[in-house]
C-alpha cells in the first residue's frame, strides 16, 4: 500500500532511503538527547587477566556437555567421517561445508531460496574458533551458503581445531577485531528453551543437537 501520509513524514517516493527517512523525528530525538545527556564519562580499560589454571580444551568440553552439546576429540577428518557415518546413519540430507566430510542427498546452490534447506538433517560446518568459558563457536556468513543453515538444520556438527579454543570472550573479540562480515554468530550448544515451568528442553527452533569435533592436530 502506497501513500500513507503524515505531516512531515512521507512514504511515497521511489527511493527507499527517502521513503523511510523521517528527518523531523530524527532531529527532535537527537536534540533532546544532546540536551539531556550528562557530562562526558570515560570508557574503562578492558582488563581481564586470563585464568592461568585453565585447560582450554578440558573446560570447553565440560561446559559444552553442561549445555546439552557433545564433544569428540579426534585425530583426523577420517575419524570425523566415521563418527558421522555412525551417528547419522539415518540422515537423508547432509550438507557439509567441510571439504573433507561428505555431503549426502541434495546439495544446495548458494543464492537460491533458503527455504529449500528446510529438510536438512545435518549441517557440517567449520568454526573459526571456540571459547572455553561458554563453549560457544564463532561462525560467519562467508563460510555459509545461507545464513539460516546453522539454525534450520535438525542437527549441527562443527569442526574446530584444538589450537583455536580461546579462554574468554575478551580474547574472542580480540581475534575478531575489525573483521568485516554480513552476519556472524556465536553458537553454544543445541537450541533450547525452559519456558514451560523452567524444565529444560533441547531443540526449540534451531538445531536439536550439536556435536563438536575437536581436531587435535
Amino acid at each position: 500500500m502506497n501513500g500513507i501520509k503524515k505531516t512531515g513524514r512521507l512514504i511515497n517516493t521511489d527511493q527507499l532511503r527517502d521513503i523511510y527517512y523521517y528527518m523531523n523525528s530524527r532531529e527532535k530525538i537527537l536534540a533532546a538527547i544532546k540536551k539531556s545527556q550528562p557530562a562526558p564519562r570515560e570508557l574503562p580499560v578492558l582488563d581481564f587477566p586470563l585464568p592461568d589454571d585453565m585447560d582450554a580444551q578440558e573446560k570447553f568440553i565440560a561446559v559444552l556437555s553442561s549445555i546439552g552439546g557433545a564433544a569428540h576429540t579426534v585425530g583426523s577428518y577420517d575419524e570425523i567421517q566415521l563418527l558421522i557415518n555412525r551417528e547419522y546413519n539415518d540422515a537423508a540430507r547432509i550438507i557439509s561445508l567441510v571439504p573433507e566430510i561428505e555431503s549426502r542427498g541434495q546439495y544446495f546452490e548458494p543464492g537460491t531460496n533458503p527455504h529449500l534447506l528446510e529438510d536438512v538433517d545435518l549441517a557440517v560446518i567449520k568454526a573459526q574458533f571456540g571459547v572455553a568459558e561458554n563453549a560457544a563457536v564463532w561462525i560467519t556468513d562467508d563460510m555459509l551458503p545461507e545464513r539460516v543453515l546453522s539454525f534450520i538444520t535438525q542437527n549441527l556438527a562443527v569442526v574446530l581445531h584444538r589450537r583455536d579454543i580461546l579462554q574468554l570472550m575478551h580474547q574472542a573479540y580480540e581475534r575478531i577485531g575489525g573483521r568485516d562480515y554480513g552476519f556472524g554468530v556465536f553458537i553454544a550448544g543445541p537450541s533450547k528453551t525452559a519456558d514451560i515451568e523452567q524444565s529444560l528442553v533441547l531443540g526449540a527452533h534451531g538445531s536439536r543437537t550439536m556435536r563438536i569435533f575437536i581436531l587435535q592436530s
Partner: protein, 459 residues
C-alpha cells in the same frame, strides 16, 4: 490485559489468594536466582566485570548523541535502512508502513520488550496484519491473550497443565498432555510452518555497536534467526539506549547477560547482524518514547543502562510473590517500577511503592543500576508533585498505621506535633491492615523514655 484501575497492592492481593501457587512461583524464580549466583561464582572477577559494564554504559549515556549518529552512519553504510521514532505511535506506524509497502499482512516476531511497550501487536492487528510471536513463552501468552509476565521468562506464571490446555485448544495437541518436552516439540512444528511462510520478521535488539553499525540479538531458541534469515524483510526495533561504543565491549556484556538472566554461560545464539543478506531488506527502528526525557533526569537516567536480563525480578521478594502482571506495565519488577513512572506518573505512581527497598535488585544488576535508591527517589518525586491517587492511598495507609496504633499515636501526640501539622489527611482512619494476619505488639507497662526518667535520673 485489562486490570481495571487496580493498583499493584490490589493485584498482588489477588495473586496471593492461591498460596500454593505463590509458593510455586516464588520457588521457581528463586531457583533461577540460585542458578545466577552459581554462574557468577564460577567465573573469576565477576564484580570487576559488573563494574566495567557499568562504566561502559555510563560512557554511552554521556555520549549518546555522538554514538547514535555514528551508529546510524555505519548502519547505512552497511546497507541497512535506519528509522527514528519519537514515540510508540510513530514506531508502530513505521513498522506498519514497511509491511504495507511490501504488501505483507503476516509477520513473525521474536522477543522484543520494546514492541510490548509500544503495543505493536494490537496496532498491527487493527491494520489487518497478523503477528505471530515465536519465542515459545511469548507464543504461549499470546495464545492465552495475556501480556508476558517477565521480560526473560514470559510465561513463568503459567503451569504446564494450563499450557497443555492452550495447546490442545489452539494447536490440536492431545487433551491432558502437559509434558514440556512434548509441548515444546509441538510448538516447534507449529512455528516452523510460520517461519517458512512469513515474508517479514521483526526482532528486538540486545546490543548495537556504534563503531560498526551492527546489532546483536541473543536467543536460546533460535527463533530470531529462523525468522530473520528466512524473511525478505527484517525489521529490528530498539530503544536507543541499547548502544555500545565498540565491538570489543560485547565481550563484557555477553559474559554478563545470560549468566545474570538464567545462569547459562551464554545464550545459545548471539547473532551479529551487520548487513542484509543478498536480496533482503533490513531495517532498524531507533525509538525514543520517553528515553530522552529519562536521560535528562539526573536521579533516574541510570535506569537506561538496563540490559533486560531480568535478574532484578528473579531476586525480588515482592515480584516473586506478586507475579509480573501485578505491575500492570510491559516491564515488570524492580526495573519496570523505575522505568514506568517516567512514561506516566499518574498511572504508575503505585509501582515505586511495590517494594520494601531491600536492595537485592541493585546487588544482582549486572550494570549496577541503583534500582532501590531510584525507587526511593521516585517516591519523593511522586509525592512532592502530588501524583497519583494510588500512591497517595498507599502512603496514607502506611501513615495511618503508624499513627493509629495507640502507642505510637500517643507518642506522636506527645512529642511529634510536627507530623500532625504536616499531614492532616492521616488522622481518623481506623482501617488497620496490620491486624488482618498479624498480632499487634503488646504495649509494655512503660516506655523506655519513662523507664529512663525513673531509673537514671541522676544522669
Amino acid at each position: 490485559m485489562n486490570n481495571g484501575d487496580k493498583d499493584h497492592a490490589a493485584l498482588a492481593q489477588q495473586f496471593n489468594r492461591d498460596e500454593p501457587r505463590v509458593n510455586w512461583h516464588d520457588e521457581t524464580l528463586w531457583w533461577v536466582r540460585a542458578k545466577r549466583d552459581k554462574a557468577a561464582h564460577t567465573i573469576p572477577g565477576w564484580e570487576h566485570l559488573r563494574e566495567t559494564a557499568s562504566r561502559i554504559k555510563n560512557n554511552v549515556l554521556s555520549n549518546m548523541y555522538g554514538y547514535l549518529q555514528q551508529f546510524e552512519e555505519n548502519a547505512r553504510k552497511n546497507g541497512v535502512i535506519v528509522h527514528w521514532a519519537a514515540d510508540a505511535g510513530e514506531h508502530n506506524e513505521i513498522v506498519c508502513g514497511i509491511l504495507q509497502k511490501h504488501g505483507i499482512n503476516k509477520m513473525v516476531k521474536s522477543k522484543s520488550m520494546l514492541t510490548e511497550e509500544c503495543h505493536l501487536n494490537d496496532y498491527l492487528q487493527q491494520n489487518g496484519i497478523e503477528v505471530i510471536d515465536t519465542d515459545l513463552g511469548e507464543r504461549i501468552v499470546q495464545l492465552a491473550k495475556e501480556p508476558p509476565s517477565h521480560i526473560v521468562l514470559p510465561c513463568i506464571h503459567k503451569k504446564k497443565e494450563e499450557i497443555g490446555e492452550l495447546f490442545h485448544e489452539h494447536l490440536g495437541t492431545p487433551e491432558g498432555n502437559a509434558d514440556p518436552q512434548f509441548l515444546t516439540h509441538a510448538a516447534r512444528l507449529h512455528l516452523r510452518e510460520k517461519f517458512l511462510t512469513r515474508r517479514a520478521a521483526l526482532t528486538g535488539v540486545n546490543f548495537a555497536i556504534a563503531e560498526t553499525g551492527e546489532f546483536v540479538v541473543c536467543t536460546n531458541e533460535g527463533n530470531a534467526d529462523m525468522g530473520a534469515h528466512l524473511a525478505d524483510v527484517h525489521i529490528a526495533c530498539m530503544g536507543f539506549e541499547k548502544l555500545l561504543p565498540q565491538r570489543k565491549h560485547l565481550g563484557v556484556f555477553l559474559r554478563l547477560l545470560a549468566r545474570s538472566a538464567t545462569g547459562q554461560p551464554i545464550t545459545t545464539y548471539s547473532s551479529h547482524f551487520k548487513k542484509p543478506r543478498k536480496g533482503q531488506e533490513m531495517h532498524i527502528v531507533l525509538v525514543d518514547n520517553g528515553r530522552s526525557v529519562q536521560l535528562g533526569r539526573e536521579d533516574f537516567r541510570n535506569s537506561l543502562k538496563c540490559i533486560r536480563c531480568g535478574a532484578c525480578m528473579n531476586t525480588c521478594p515482592v515480584y516473586r510473590r506478586s507475579g509480573g502482571h501485578s505491575y500492570h506495565t510491559a516491564v515488570a519488577g524492580p526495573i519496570g517500577s523505575i522505568l514506568a513512572p517516567n512514561l506516566d506518573m499518574r498511572k504508575y505512581a503505585d509501582l515505586p511503592f511495590a517494594s520494601t527497598l531491600c536492595g537485592s535488585c541493585s546487588n544482582v544488576c549486572p550494570v549496577k543500576i541503583d534500582i532501590h535508591d531510584q525507587l526511593y527517589k521516585w517516591r519523593q518525586v511522586l509525592m512532592k508533585e502530588g501524583y497519583g491517587p494510588a500512591a497517595k492511598k498507599l502512603a496514607m495507609k502506611g501513615m495511618t498505621f503508624t499513627l493509629s496504633n495507640p502507642g505510637v499515636y500517643r507518642f506522636a501526640g506527645k512529642t511529634g506535633r510536627w507530623v500532625m501539622g504536616k499531614m492532616p489527611f492521616i488522622v481518623n482512619n481506623k482501617l488497620n491492615p496490620w491486624y488482618k494476619q498479624r498480632e499487634m505488639p503488646e504495649p509494655p507497662a512503660q516506655s523506655f523514655n519513662e523507664w529512663y526518667k525513673k531509673n537514671r535520673k541522676a544522669d
